[in-house]
Structures are given as C-alpha cells and as structure tokens.
C-alpha cells in the first residue's frame, strides 16, 4: 500500500505542476492588474487561451524546416522532464533519486537551445534578434545559476534537489549568509530566465526590445500553445526551485498520506507569496535597456560568488 501510494504521488507530481502552471501565470497577471488599478482578466484565462490555441490550425512558414515543427515538442518535453524531477510533496518519493540540480539545468539548456534554433529557423529578423538576445541573457544567467547550486551543494554535500531540501529540513535552523546571497542571486536569475520585467516583458510582442516573444512570432495554433505552456511551466519550475531550496518547510519527509496532503496547501501558499512578490517587483520596476541586462546579470553572478566565498570564509572554516 505504502509503495503504491508513493508511486502514485511521484506520477502525480509532474501532472500537478503541468496543471498548475497556467494558474500561476494567471495569478501573477491578476495581482499585477490589481496593483495597477485594473480589474484584470479572470484567473482561468490562461487555460482558455491554451484551449483556444489547441483548437486552431497551425500555420508554418514556407521557409521553415522540419526543425521548426519539432521544436515545440522538444521544448515542452524537456521543460516537463525538468519539472518532473522537482520534489513537490515529499523528498522520499521514487523520483527523488533523479532530481539532480545539474541535470535540471542541462534540460533547461536543451529546451532553450531548441527554442533559439526555432527562432532562427524561419528567417525573420525579429526571430534572429530574439534568438541573439536570448543567448546573450543565457550566457550570463547560466553560470550564475550553477554557482547558486554549487553554493548550496557545499553546505548540503549533494547536488540532488531532494537531498538539499532534506538537509535543510533535517538540521536546526541556522542563519547562513551564503544562503542569503544565493537566494538573492536565484531570484534575479529566475526573473531573467523566465523573461519577466526588468529583463523582458511577457505581456507584449509589440516592443522592439522583446526577447522571448520575438522567437515565437512565427508560431501559431498548437505549436504556440505548447511553447506558451512550456514558458508557464518554466516560471512555476523556478518558483518551485526557490521553494525547494530555500523554504522547504512543509515538505513531507515520509511517504505518509496525511503528510502528503498537508504539504499541498502550504506549497500553494508559498507559491502565491512568490507570485505576489513577482507582481509587485514587476509593477515597481521598469524594463531596462537590453544593453543593461549584462550588468544586471553580473550583479546576480557576483551575489552567487559572494555566497560561495562567504561559505568558505565564514561557515566552512569554523
């Protein structure tokens, strides 16, 4: 029975994330609208958008190669696979053993690589511009993300996400300067990776400064639906990563039905708080010029590096 339960929970995790991803995007949009004194679209609008797009015909440019058709499926599958590795309810489920942080960054890298190729494939100037900018952002964001993982791995002695959450849950509560820096760096990198303000504006494709939307301009129908869904899933993935690494309290450390059930509302609360934080920061910040983005990401990298150094200086040599 216990085995069956944990297997079911492990299979349920990615499906739950997949189902919740549009809701999180809708929630962020809704809070943002309220902060700007608008009524905002209903929470379920992203679901309706997806359904509408899935029902429409997919138009492909004459110049596009087969890669253009394959890219949405690869991007979606890689993002889903990365999300499947994250511990959602519990740290002891069967899937926890493959939840390696470096593999997760690799899967996200694969998704991004295909997205960039697809952006270049149709041969439109906006696609190429978006692709070039995406690579610019990535080349700064990915090292910072890896440094965050290394900082945490030095304290927890593992790169397994479930193991990291377990180590934080198991030990006594300690104020660690390195975690503080790593958290700040992860939030900054997450904003850049998910294409949110101040790096990119997800609400419009009418700006000349667009990054993510620029690569999607040629997509329509089910292809666009998959790409949009993958982007929403990525936002949820980064929120979950923040929760798992820095606020794991509430995750079940045993496969026991009550603990699994209790983990869910607490997780929803934490995600809602992160969504509110994102909405507030998107409301008070203005989008920055593209050429300022490397400076922003250098700050994130510096924070992650300081996290690493402060671990070595202040925590390890004690």
């Amino acid at each position: 029975m216990d085995r069956f339960l944990s297997l079911a929970a492990a299979l349920l995790q990615p499906l739950l994330l997949l189902a919740a991803a549009p809701l999180l995007a809708g929630l962020v949009r809704r809070i943002k609208a309220r902060l700007q004194n608008r009524r905002g679209a209903p929470l379920l609008t992203p679901y309706r958008d997806l359904r509408k797009l899935f029902g429409k015909e997919a138009v492909v440019a004459r110049t596009a190669s087969p890669l253009f058709r394959a890219a949405p499926y690869v991007v979606f599958a890689a993002t889903l696979l990365a999300a499947a590795a994250l511990p959602v309810f519990s740290t002891v489920l069967p899937g926890a053993r493959i939840a390696d942080a470096i593999a997760l960054i690799g899967l996200l890298g694969l998704a991004r690589f295909m997205l960039v190729l697809a952006g270049l494939d149709a041969g439109t100037p906006f696609g190429g511009m978006g692709a070039a900018r995406e690579m610019l952002v990535t080349s700064f964001a990915e090292p910072a993300l890896l440094l965050v993982i290394f900082t945490l791995a030095m304290t927890t002695h593992t790169t397994n996400l479930a193991g990291m959450a377990d180590a934080t849950l198991g030990g006594t509560t300690v104020l660690r300067p390195s975690y503080l820096f790593a958290l700040a760096a992860l939030l900054m990198v997450g904003v850049a990776e998910c294409g949110r303000i101040p790096v990119d504006n997800p609400a419009t494709h009418l700006e000349l400064t667009m990054i993510h939307e620029g690569m999607l301009l040629e997509y329509s129908g089910r292809h666009l639906a998959l790409m949009d869904w993958a982007a929403q899933l990525k936002l949820l993935l980064f929120a979950m990563l923040t929760v798992d690494l820095f606020l794991p309290w509430g995750l079940a450390t045993r496969a026991d039905p009550l603990a699994l059930l209790l983990a869910l509302p607490l997780l929803a609360l934490k995600l809602a708080l992160l969504a509110a934080l994102l909405a507030v920061s998107e409301t008070v910040l203005a989008k920055m010029r593209v050429f300022r983005v490397p400076g922003y990401l250098t700050l994130a990298f510096l924070l992650a590096l300081l996290g690493l150094l402060s671990h070595v200086i202040l925590e390890a040599a004690l």
């Binding site: 300067p177 503080l180 250098t298 200086i313």
Partner: protein, 234 residues
Amino acid sequence: MSLAALPLLDQAVLVLAAMALFSAFALLAQSRLLAAIHVFAWQGLLVAAVAALMGAASGDVNLYVSAAITLALKVLLIPWMLHRLLRRLALERQADPLAHPALTLLAAAAIVVFADWVAAPVAQFEHSATRNVIAISLAVVLLGLLMMVVRRQALAQVLGFMAMENGLLLAAVASTHGMPLVVELGVAFDVLVAMVLFGVFFLQIKDSIDSLDVDRLSQLSASIEQDEEPEPRP
C-alpha cells in the same frame, strides 16, 4: 564546531558582516556619486549594527558607545556633509563609470580570496566565535583601497578611504570586542576632521581645474587650457 552550534547573535553578526562585504562591492561598482554615498551610509549602518550586536552578546557598554558613534558619524553626519558638498559642487548627476568594470570586479573577488588566505593563520589562534570576520574586514579594507586606486573622481576616492575605516572598525569590533574607548574616539574625530579637510580640498581643486577628476591633476595647467579652448586658426 559547526555554524549551528553558535548562538543566534553570533550567527546574525556573521550575516551582517557578509552584507557589509557586499556593500563594499556595491560601493566599488556604483558609478553614480549620489547612490555611492547612500551605499556608504548603509555600510556604516551595518557596521554599527555589528557593534551593537556584539555589545548585546558580550554585555560590554563600550561597544554600545562605539555603535552610537558610528551611527552618528558614518551613517548621518558624514553622508550629510558629502551630500551638501555634492550639491555645492553641482555634481549630483555626475557619474564616474569604471574604466574596466569586469576586470575590477574580478580583482575585487581575488582580493577577498587573498584576504581569507592572509587572515587564516590569525583566525586559528583566536578563540572568539566570530574570528572569521577578520578576513571579511580585511577584504573591506582592501576593497576600499582598490576603490581609491580605480576611481578618478576625488569624491569617490574619499568614499573609498572612509570605507577602509569601516573595515578597520569591523575588525576591531568583531574580533577583539572593540578598541579602547580613547582610541575609538580619536579615530572617529580623525575621520571627521579628514572629512572637513577633504571638503576644503575639493573646493580648491574645483576652483583651479574646474573638475574633480584627479587624472587631470597630472597635466600641466597650460595643456589643460589648450584642451578646452583650441586656439583659433589664423
């Protein structure tokens, strides 16, 4: 001994020291003078908070006094004076970008590693729980020095000098529970007098070369005039 075994106050001191190190980086990278003054004030506040926390941990009244002096001088008085000076020199919007930002930040990170290496033997012989702050404060001192080297604006260089003093105070407070009060008062007034003198100097420099860019001090005044007003062609 692991971090978890330390009392909460000492853990908070470590966190604040790490944040002071970050503020030293922020000061180094901040190109706008007005924002740099604000960062300097925040750094002073962090050091004052470390002093107050160490005072709470050890029950030493001297540390509260030095926290109060730091708060009054480094957080309020000196930033206010710099602010007034900036307005008087009409430099509020002046930015002094680094010539090689990436290189400077790499050098700064290398300095932190170097400071840790230098402080390692010192830290071994100490018994205080927060002895590792010595490395951090040495790094803050050296970063202030680096700031004086890489910046061209005289006002930014003064900020670097003041940040060095913050680092010294951090070392004194966190590792040896503070300097004797007489020394502390002497240093505090030294810094204050230095600030006043710097102010007078700035006005003089501004008067004679019409800028606070110290690189231009190495040119002869005749050549400066030539730079600005090319001779009319006959």
